[in-house]
Amino acid sequence: MKKEYGALVVGAGIGGIRSALDLAETGLKVALIDARPSLGGILTQLDHQFPSDHCGMCKMLPLTQRDQSSQYCLRKGLFHKNIDIYLHTELTGLEGDPGKFQATLRRRSTFVDPTRCVSCGLCAEVCPARVPSEFNAGLAPRTAVYLPVPHNIPNHYVVDLDNCQRCWRCYEACPTKAIDFKFEQRKDFHIIVATPDERITQDLPLWFKDENFPLHPTATGEKALELLAGGLECGLMLLDLDLPEAEVERTLRRALELRPNLAVVLLVSKDKDGAKNEDEGKDKAVAALFKQGAREVLAKPLKQAQAVPWLDKLFMRLVSDESFSLEVGAVILAAGFECYNPGDNPNGCADLMLYGSHPGVLTSLEFERLASPTGPSQGLLTRPGDGKPLHRIAWLQCVGSRDVKKQADFCSSFCCMISIKQALLAKRRSCGEAEATIFYMDMRTNGRDYQRYRDEAENTAGVRFIPARPHSILPGPDGDLLIQYYDYSGELREEVFDALVLAVGARPPKSMERLALAAGIEVNDSGFCATRYLSPNRTSRLGVFAAGAFGEPADIRGSMIQAGAAAMGASRMIRVYHGPRDETPEAEPEYTDVSRQVPRVLMALCSSCPTLELNVNADALRQRMAILPGVVKVVDVKRACTREGWDTLRQEAEATAPNRVLIGACLPYMHVPRLRELGEDLKLNPALMDVVDIHTASLAGRATSFGGHAACRASCAAGRGEEPGASPGVCDCGETARTDEMSSLLAMAAAKLLGADPSSLPQATPVSPQALVVGGGLAGMTAAMGIADQGFKVVLVEEAEQLGGQAMNLRYTLGGDDPARFMEDLIEQVEKNPNIRVLKDSRVVLSRGKAGRFVTVVATGEGMAHTLHHGATILATGGHEAKVYEYGNRVRKCVLTQLELEQRLAAGSVDASSLSGVAMIQCWRSREESRNYCSRVCCQGALKNILMLKKRNPGLPVYVFYRDIMTTGFAEHYYTEARRSGAIFIRYTPDTRPKVEFKDDKPVITALDPVLSAQIELHPDLLVLSSGVEPNDSAEIADLFGVSLTDNGFYQEAESKWRPVDFLKHGVFACGLGLGPATMRETLLSAKAAAQRAVRILSEKQLSCGNVVAEIRDTLCSRCGRCISVCPYGARALDLDRDKIVVDELLCQGCGSCMAACPNSATVLRGFRDEQVMAVIDAALAVQPAAAAGL
């Protein structure tokens, strides 16, 4: 039966994971696929992310219903009840319509059976192939059978068939026979060779003697067809193009009619001396045959060394790869991006920048790998090649971005911040000794807090920022680099560096063309997925959405928001097409109450695992475990990782009826979903079960490698005068120590289980299925629509008499959209939507409660008070153009803000043709204290106005004084346009600010032009100021809902990267200008992302807490209140009426801070009760009595 899913998410990087989680948390089933063999996308390679310079990825994991998903490091992997992950899988076709797509997927085989592979690594040890490792960005080699990411779980080796040398050594080395190269199937794989070429007919049987393929050479297509018609189960056909053209075509067509799945390979002779025309003719013929179903091309004349491996690998792919299809409601594409490789492009800059030829020239990705502890140098910043510690490091920005010649008329958005982060990292690693220099064009610090980060790097850490593009990069003395550039004052400088890091930009993924074709979407000029400016989460195909950096290069924060918006789009689509969701949610499993029973532990030890058997004295282990307190039975389960093994375990458990289950196996993380299943079968809460990793401890014998241990075993046997393997399990090389360690680990886990609290969890909170949106601007209305369209009631509270907010002031966008029209439509939709109740001229006066159950009082202008019960709150209180009274603003007619100019240009009250000159000053009072943030919209606003002015009066001189032009993403294109149109951009620094005076009521601007290195004086008609964005005063609202604000009055989100629209207070979300300066597009995205976060709560009938949650023993509590102040989530409060400390179990994330702070041990963390932890410590330190007894 075809599997059905709510949504298909293509790409399991962070964007894909965010989208998948956002959908899965609302109860939809999600299929998450990735072409790579590992999860996590590019973030698996990056260990450090600004601003914390650490990872933090785990903060994406769900906060409510936590136990439905994994509760461990997200870089290890992901598990969620509603997400199925298919790796090494690509989307090959998408048919049908939204709500009922048929997605065809192809899973490429890894040739390693994941149920058998124990990641022992013997295969890689013997593999002779060496290719650059993708994980280490090519800085280190890897073998052809390899671990894609060292820290992933499950961590199985994969075979990279393309680079495999077919020596089969890994196959022979594998102790579990996990590697399968389909040797058995070869003798049944018939190959028809239809060729007039006698040499091929003669050679092939000789060449393929070892492979054992049954070959059927025929001289004509006719005979080949006869064979097929005769019932030959043929898997592959080689068809020579030297046969008559009509015959080739007919044979192909007929063969595919007879065997639709037959793989047909065309043999094409490529004559080197042959005429070019002939080749072109052949290419056309081949293309035509491909359309008819031919799969591959093999060039003639065949050479044994190439043809045999090629055909053999083709065979392996044909019999191993699988194709399957899924029925999905919507599709989210999150295939991410690829880093620009200067070496890839023949017209690239590799030679100019010495990339590839000088070991000191690295890409930023390579630098990340150098800095990573899992990287080639274990985290030491040394130069590849000579190993010299990197002390003088330069960064060169915009390599492969903002470069029209390299088809990159866009800004990659993330490289500036990455370089600052890397510079700080280098500084910190060297205790400040390293010299870090960044050569840049514009430092795009356009996030809310990014400018401060840069200032800190520049002023505190001492990173040098040089606005220059080095013209020459030359090999220097001692393997160093000599960089020549003109500095800001125009002087030629020359400096020596140990390394140069190229801040490479984003490129569409290599598979983009295939993916676009398969998904039926359009791509834009730069090769990224095409999206419209005002519907940024949608692709050109209805029901297919773009998440992460797939539609536009973005940093983590941007990707997260975009992914949330895509999830909202998909979720809405699924619900619109499927109607209201099934009203029968999955029944929560019911567990037997075992709190009154004596603990009975069933211990299951996985066996038949070669590594385990080899390294541990299993019998001794079992005997020792059996005498542990509470253990009723120790069972041997053969290969617990397989279905059969698990079934044995279940049967044992059913027979023993334990109330605790402890499993000793490998990869505990993998067993999480199975424990839940087992729990449902046994009616036993999975919190009373645990899996202990006895595999890792058994591996490798710590001090010796696996192979080393085997060798040791042999020598031990020899020492006893025995044949190797005569007495397995007897070896002195640490086996006893390992057995001790393992029994200790199991005893610790058993002790913890014994003390586990079997009582049931606190009552679940019922959810009020209604949302409150505060603020009726673009963000608020978009969020309200996003929630209402998914079938939930929304109350939209707006302070003003009209909906619309700040976006109503906009007249046009860079992309040429009509914002006024867009807003009109949106307002109409909101007001007509039956699920939305709009309260204008109203304000929130009181709010109480928690996620799922808020009670809020709203007062209207007429003096009415409404009491609302809602499950989620979205704060979209917005912002406004900053008001500063300087430079003659609001005093003189000739001084305008960008927004005023836009309105006047639209209304016609400024006539561009009558002007003789316009000057603009950017970053006016922005990016310096007290508004030390980039307002994001002003550069784009200025470009919009410049292009409009230039369109109306192409000869009009326009001068723009700027610090850095912040046109990230595809907005860069308009910066290029503006420069092309003749606008003159003059850089200034905070020290060389342009001076403005007024003469005859006209502005006179004097400033330093760094290009001319001279003072200039301008007399424009108009002076336009970019005044930036300020948040509306939201202190009161923030106070009411218990959320915090930044220094500048924006909302402080829970985590700037991983939870960009959430507050620490669960159930309250923020979007739009209130969260930080944003363009219309970005506001739409954040509003949609916030809507989806709210739907995530509303779609739940009731919210239950996780198994690890704080509780209070009231009689011990002295009400000292320390736990209240220490709780990072505000989950605790003193209930004055009942004189009790109360825990909000939904807010509580189980960190246990309260437990450590409590002087009376009155607060208890479930799963980590004092008794448990103490027992675990005892077990850890216990001298194994059994060991002492000699067992």
Binding site: D47, P150, T374, R702, S1153, A1156
Partner: protein, 156 residues
Amino acid sequence: MQELIVTPEAQGEPMPGAAFEPAIVAFVCNWCTYTAADLAGTSRMVQSPNVRLVRMMCTGMVDPKYIIKALLGGADAVLISGCHPGDCHYINGNYKARRRVKLLMEILPRFGIDSRRIKLTWVGASEGNEFAATVNSFAAEIKELGPIDTRRLPLL
């Protein structure tokens, strides 16, 4: 308050013939260091034996009584390891651990326990090698220090 008598730590007699292998209890956080320890294990990094990991959700929940319990229960040393500052899954738990351990390090010598027997480190999820190195160097330090002998401690 009576002034505590601080004596140098009572050294246990080294067992003749047998090399001293310190027993170390490590309280590691579920998110970062536990992952790193796992990575170190699966990557076959050479690690000192006799280190028992006790997985906690966060270093912020490591109550000093657990540390004292471990030391009195026979551990020669205690390692506490969590996420790097600023990286705590629970926002600020590691800062709480830092304050707590600092105080403990000041108090324990008064009871005759060398403060070198407690160590607080930050090890991120991908720093398997860092974890192995930390454990090994700590084990070496404790080897040098010799076994703890809690029976001979003053006041205990």
